[in-house]
């Protein structure tokens, strides 16, 4: 059997390069005392961009590594997606890390390593590989969340995240054991084949497995009621890591869920569809309503991201090729928007040390560019037309509605309406309240440039999402082949 396996290591080149990059960063940090540490983020970003370009070489290729890792357009999509978002976060960290954190070498190395985990979560078509990749990403995030030495909140957020994460991993593993037991395999296609032959004898065991897997992965993407670590970890983590949590960690969870449920669990769709639909509904409602009551911008965005998870779970409940590509589109739009918002918040925090919502008073006067970008990002998150959020949500809701989940789409539209209220609270502080201190702030060119580039992406997706939608279609085509 093992002789027939395709063990073509060249398929994994981008991840080897990522590993090499991480090693290089660690080595430079350790062994080159004269290497100027403020260059690390630029080195990281440059390396990431080079690997991103390299990984484009697998566009429209289709191959697998020992049946574990599939290199198809879906993987390539997420390679680009994760590497790009890590590069953005690395650049956004530059000033923050230099001023507030020690051990920059380990910081950037862990960022890069976590990207490998995220990519393999999307690429694997086998439960063990998926699980280990998930742990790689999680471990990096545990460390990064508690990275700050001086901030007690960082320790606390890290502790809660780590312990609950280990708890959720245990649940996930137990669920996987049931899946394995009932299907005799951990390969997605073999699981699907086993289930397609009927599940009568072990219906309850299968359901138990599905519930536990859903709980374990629901924890990673922060679905209610498995979400409670999210606000605490978001608030405790260093700001760029909060951005990273909201972008990569979430997207990786969905990448895994999408491939797993479309690849392995389609034959038992009736068993899990209603579960995810129920989780989606409660997640949207709780996330958006609790966000109304937040006073810290990180917690606000944590709850808003929980609300967004609800929208994305809807697409998973209504799983079809249309809703899968809509999910990818929404995920991309959401990550671009969220990163734009976080860049502004990071820049503002670097300059003023404020992360309470009332601390954003008069931002429009003190840092007009940042305020404009943040406002655009928040409008996009709330789903205003012209911004990315509208189209991605519209296509998502439509895809969900056409799969027979109209009631979910109605809840989603209503909850997006509620969300405008708490985004406006921030916009109001920025634009309408008087600043606490006078004077223009000098925003570093790097962060302004990043913010402008991302907000351009927000408008691009919002006005002309055609290309991204086509890419998402291509990426998800094979999932349902």
């Amino acid at each position: 059997m093992s002789n027939e396996l395709n063990l073509d290591y060249s398929l994994l080149t981008p991840e080897f390069c990522l590993g090499g990059l991480a090693a290089l960063i660690l080595a430079l940090d350790l062994f080159a005392p004269r290497f100027r540490k403020e260059w690390l983020p630029y080195l990281t970003a440059a390396g990431l961009v080079a690997i991103l370009v390299l990984s484009l070489g697998w566009v429209n290729k289709e191959s697998d590594f020992a049946g574990l890792i599939f290199i198809d357009n879906y993987t390539t999509f997420f390679r680009v997606f994760f590497i790009a978002s890590t590069a953005v976060v690395a650049l956004a960290s530059a000033h923050y890390v230099q001023a507030r954190l020690s051990n920059p070498g380990e910081y950037y190395a862990l960022l890069v390593l976590s990207t490998i985990g995220a990519i393999y979560m999307a690429a694997s078509r086998e439960l063990l590989t998926a699980y280990i990749s998930l742990e790689l990403l999680s471990f990096c995030l545990y460390v990064l969340v508690s990275f700050s030495t001086s901030d007690r909140r960082s320790h606390e957020g890290g502790l809660k995240y780590m312990l609950l994460g280990a708890f959720a991993s245990a649940l996930l593993l137990y669920g996987i054991s049931f899946i394995y037991g009932s299907s005799g395999s951990t390969f997605y296609d073999e699981i699907a084949a086993a289930y397609a032959g009927g599940t009568d004898g072990f219906e309850l065991g299968l359901l138990m497995g599905l519930v536990l897997v859903l709980a374990g992965l629901g924890f990673k993407v922060a679905a209610v009621p498995f979400h409670m670590w999210t606000p605490d970890a978001y608030e405790g983590a260093p700001l760029p890591i909060t951005a990273y949590l909201s972008a990569t960690s979430k997207a990786a969870g969905f990448a895994l869920l999408l491939r797993l449920f479309s690849g392995a669990f389609m034959p038992v769709r009736d068993d899990w569809q209603w579960m995810i639909a129920a989780l989606a509904a409660i997640t949207m409602v709780v996330g958006n309503l609790v966000a109304l009551q937040q006073s810290n911008i990180k917690r606000l965005l944590a709850y808003s991201s929980i609300g967004q998870v609800g929208y994305m779970l809807m697409a998973l409940a209504a799983l079809s090729s249309a809703s899968a590509s809509a999910l990818l589109l929404h995920l991309s739009g959401y990550v671009i928007t969220n990163l734009a918002a976080f860049i502004c918040i990071i820049a503002w925090y670097n300059l003023t040390d404020k992360e309470e919502i009332r601390g954003f008073r008069g931002m429009a006067e003190r840092a007009p560019l940042l305020a404009a970008v943040l406002a655009a990002a928040l409008f996009s998150l709330s789903g205003m037309p012209l911004f990315a959020g509208f189209f991605t949500k519209f296509i998502l809701f439509q895809a969900v509605a056409s799969e027979g989940f109209l009631w979910l789409a109605v809840i989603a539209v209503t909850m997006s309406f509620v969300s405008i209220y708490y985004y406006l609270m921030v916009i109001k502080e920025m634009y309408i309240s008087e600043p606490e201190e006078p004077g223009r702030l000098q925003v570093p060119v790097l962060l302004s440039g990043l913010a402008v580039a991302l907000v351009a992406g927000v408008f691009y997706v919002g006005i002309y999402p055609r290309h991204l939608l086509e890419v998402a279609e291509e990426a998800t085509k094979l999932l349902f082949a």
């Binding site: 742990e135 502790l159 780590m162 137990y174 394995y180 037991g181 005799g184 395999s185």
Partner: protein
Amino acid sequence: MEAVTQQIPLEHFLVLSAILFSLGVYGVLTRRNAVLILMSIELMLNAASVNMVAFAAYTSPEQFIGIIFAIFIITIAAAEAGLALAIILRIFRYRKTANVDEIDELKW
């Protein structure tokens, strides 16, 4: 002598692992010391490994994926314990407590 699997039904192993798992869950929910919570989680992970190995032995012995899986679970669990202890020790150094009920500055 007959093989073990012919003398003991698979369900026995699964029920035992279910009991260990629920005990672990109970421990996570009630223990207040972070280290003890970690220990309860180890119990749950062990239960999962038992499941894996039992399924491997009974339902798909030629593929033994379950055994491979169990090896990885043990590896990850060890790493997890190490990392979690580093975090717990640091919290303890700053707050002089490892009681999770007292570590609740972040809320609401």
